[in-house]
């Protein structure tokens, strides 16, 4: 099995006169969960469709599981599970009919897991597709993407429409798949959707990859809201000059600030006083994500 599950080099896709992808260099390693983040219209769905040979690149190269979509589309699609952003099917069939047919397109692969997965996700297979809620339709989509135990899962905004319980169940399924050595490539326009399960995130803007980071690194570098309660009033001096500290307010014995990066200096400065409690919010990666957008936007990335 190749080390790299998905590789694109200088991938360009034009739609008539508009450019969908503008030189995308993407590398997804075998066995990792990769979050592909970007605002709507950045090129996430275009990328995914190129991987599956639904559309063809204007220039640049694509390799999926070591194969070329244009040449070996059948082989790739046999080994890939795909969930589209909007999972659309003919509404006049039952969920079981649809899933059985889709399994048959794979030579029957996965048919034996339909019941087990439906039970896990609490889906009634006898219902006609058109009578299912958006969330329940999405469950059918998740089942068809997972049932044949694909080596690579390509998921376009997979948890949109799922309730929190299902989002949690879905994250577990993703982690299980990853622990079995499968690769997961999932797109989203919200960080919170991928930060739970992804190992790395790539941020795409206007058809190019602008940043790739490990989620743990991001978390370390993310901005946190800190609140420290002292046993006696403190002065702002000694805190405001600490690198990374911003939005500092001191209200008697309570200090509040935002902290970028390591907490070391702030904690040492605080330790000179008597501390009652320290609380730090779980970093909001969403905020960081917006920072990236803004920085890139202001930086004039038209190049």
């Amino acid at each position: 099995m190749p080390e790299i599950a998905i590789a694109t080099v200088g991938l360009i896709k034009d739609y008539g006169r508009t450019r969908g992808l503008d030189g995308l260099d993407l590398e997804v390693r075998t066995g990792e969960v990769y979050g592909f983040l970007g605002p709507n219209g950045a090129g996430k769905t275009t990328t995914i469709r190129l991987l599956l040979d639904l559309i063809r690149p204007t220039s640049g190269s694509v390799r999926v599981l070591g194969l070329e979509p244009r040449e070996d589309g059948i082989q790739i699609r046999r080994r890939v599970g795909y969930l589209a952003g909007d999972f659309l099917v003919d509404g006049r069939q039952t969920a079981r009919e649809l899933l059985t047919y889709l399994a048959n397109l794979r030579g029957g692969a996965g048919a034996d897991r339909i019941d087990e997965l439906a039970q896990r996700l609490d889906l009634d297979l006898t219902r006609k597709m058109r009578t299912l809620s958006r969330g329940n339709r999405q469950k059918v989509g998740v089942i068809q993407a997972f049932m044949h135990d694909p080596e690579l899962m390509v998921l376009d905004e997979p948890t949109s429409g799922l309730d929190p319980f299902l989002q949690h169940e879905f994250s577990t399924m993703i982690r299980d798949a990853a622990s079995e050595g499968r690769t997961v490539f999932m797109s989203s326009h919200v960080m919170s959707e991928v930060q739970r399960s992804a190992d790395r995130v790539g941020i795409i803007r206007e058809g190019r990859l602008s940043t790739v980071e490990g989620v743990d690194d991001l978390r370390q570098r993310a901005r946190r809201h800190i609140e420290i309660v002292f046993d006696s009033p403190v002065e702002p001096d000694g805190f405001s000059s600490i690198p990374g500290v911003s939005d500092l307010t001191i209200d008697g014995t309570v200090l509040r600030c935002r902290l970028d990066g390591r907490a070391d200096r702030l904690v040492k400065a605080a330790a000179r006083h008597g501390i009652v409690t320290i609380s730090a919010e779980e970093p909001d990666l969403e905020e960081l994500f917006f920072d990236y957008y803004e920085r890139q936007g202001a930086g004039g990335d038209a190049s």
């Binding site: 469709r49 599956l52 639904l54 589309g73 059948i74 795909y82 003919d90 047919y101 889709l102 397109l105």
Partner: protein, 264 residues
């Protein structure tokens, strides 16, 4: 029924297919059943007073015998037009309609080639077109005694219904081919409707203009029954041109379908 895309397509469209088969065969049989009321001196006299151009436009020039009557009313008009509507829409739905509904993408993300999927669906359409043709054939055979359709043998009906099937295949391949090539159902139906309107006009109106008689040779309606298979048996030239054009349209449609972007 869920084994492959051929049976799946038949199964998914079972209701509309049965409705079409019964409607086309039913309306055709109903017109055929009127033959005894047309077959009387008063009616013939009335038609003789009509201008020749009008009779020609209506295909009513040879209406004094059962075959001429069926050619004018059933095969020349109602069944022909209903077959055009059915075939065009069924052909256009196979790829373009499914694609515009957004439901084709899921299937093409599975390990099946585009050509295989498209051919399985077109084969399903052909089967339905054959069923429609056979249904009308059976209805007319049953009616031929009670409706006094004397002088038309079973073999003649078979020949006519082979032409009808090829006519359906031709319009189905227009909807299918244009739809597969472009992904646009409206365009596919529009092109087919344009061909039908031209063909109908060429066969009844334009060919009455001096010097333009040859134009009916380009009309699918002429190929359907202009040489009256009901009386003369299969017309090899007409049958081959319908079959050949259908093969050509399907082939070109598939070639372009393979190359293009899907569901953009």
């Amino acid at each position: 029924m869920l084994r492959n895309s051929f049976t799946k397509w038949l199964w998914d469209n079972r209701r509309s297919m049965v409705t079409w088969a019964l409607s086309i065969a039913g309306v055709g049989a109903m017109y055929a059943a009127f033959w005894p009321t047309m077959d009387n001196p008063a009616m013939r006299e009335m038609l003789e007073n009509y201008p020749d151009e009008l009779l020609e436009a209506l295909n009513y020039t040879d209406i004094a015998n059962p075959a001429g009557y069926l050619n004018a009313t059933v095969y020349g008009l109602v069944v022909a037009l209903l077959t055009v509507v059915f075939s065009l829409s069924a052909g256009a739905k196979a790829i373009a309609g499914d694609e515009e509904a957004g439901t084709l993408e899921l299937i093409l993300a599975h390990p099946i080639t585009r050509v295989r999927l498209a051919l399985e669906r077109f084969a399903a359409f052909l089967l339905v077109a054959a069923v429609i043709s056979v249904t009308l054939f059976v209805f007319l055979l049953v009616l031929s005694g009670p409706a006094h359709l004397e002088g038309i043998s079973t073999g003649s009906f078979l020949a006519m219904h082979l032409h009808l099937f090829l006519f359906a295949a031709l319009f189905g391949s227009v909807g299918f081919g244009v739809g597969a090539a472009t992904g646009r159902r409206g365009l596919a139906i529009g092109v087919g409707a344009g061909i039908a309107v031209f063909g109908f006009a060429a066969n009844g109106l334009l060919n009455q203009i001096d010097g333009l008689e040859w134009i009916e040779g380009f009309s699918p309606f002429q190929w359907l029954n202009g040489n009256s298979p009901l009386q003369n048996g299969i017309h090899a030239g007409d049958a081959l041109i319908m079959a050949g054009l259908a093969v050509l349209l399907v082939t070109v449609g598939l070639l372009l379908f393979r190359r293009r972007d899907v569901a953009v």
